[in-house]
């Protein structure tokens, strides 16, 4: 999410709106937005209907998700971060899409693991590859 915050100006310059769908209820989404200082619309989808419609799934058993989670936990412990019991579905994956006119999908990114999201340079490339305003009219 910090990558998105970092790219806020680039989205504006490219004329691209951003929306964030969460798997939380409204109250938790408000907390999520405040905590991460997100300026974009945050859309709670606790029943994950839109997740399902976009094919955004969960980590598959045997995909290495458990080891990645363990590795991440060890790193957090070593860094002195406070540990907490997660209340959310830790197996849920995210995804990112760029949707153009006529709802055409211009970019679809489904990470294989929870921590493999697009980084700022990847997002910038997606914006750079977009057709200009004249081409999209």
């Amino acid at each position: 999410m910090s990558q998105l915050r970092q790219m806020e100006g680039a989205f504006e310059r490219a004329g691209v709106d951003v929306a964030v769908v969460t798997l939380f209820d409204r109250e938790t989404t408000q907390h999520f937005r405040r905590e991460l200082k997100i300026a974009f619309p945050c859309l709670p989808d606790p029943e994950r209907k839109v997740y399902g419609a976009y094919g955004v799934g969960r980590i598959q058993k045997g995909a290495g998700g458990t080891w990645r989670a363990l590795h991440k936990t060890i790193r957090l412990v070593l860094s002195g971060a406070p540990l907490r019991m997660p209340k959310e579905d830790v197996m849920q994956l995210g995804a990112e899409f760029l949707i153009g006119q006529g709802l055409e999908i211009r970019m679809a990114h489904y990470p294989a693991a929870a921590d493999l999201h697009l980084m700022a340079p990847d997002i910038q490339k997606v914006l750079d590859d977009m057709p200009g305003p004249a081409a999209s009219e």
Partner: protein, 41 residues
């Protein structure tokens, strides 16, 4: 099922965390970068 580039994205109507409606449909003119969060960190 996963979606691919060139396919039509599913439209939807949700409310944002402030209760304001958010609709994605064919009337949208500006491109939308849509992010699905994973679990919080």
């Amino acid at each position: 099922m996963r979606l691919s580039v060139g396919e039509k994205a599913p439209g939807f109507a949700l409310e944002d965390d402030g209760g304001q409606p958010f609709v994605l449909d064919e009337r949208r003119r500006r491109p939308l970068y849509l992010v699905f969060t994973r679990h919080s960190t």
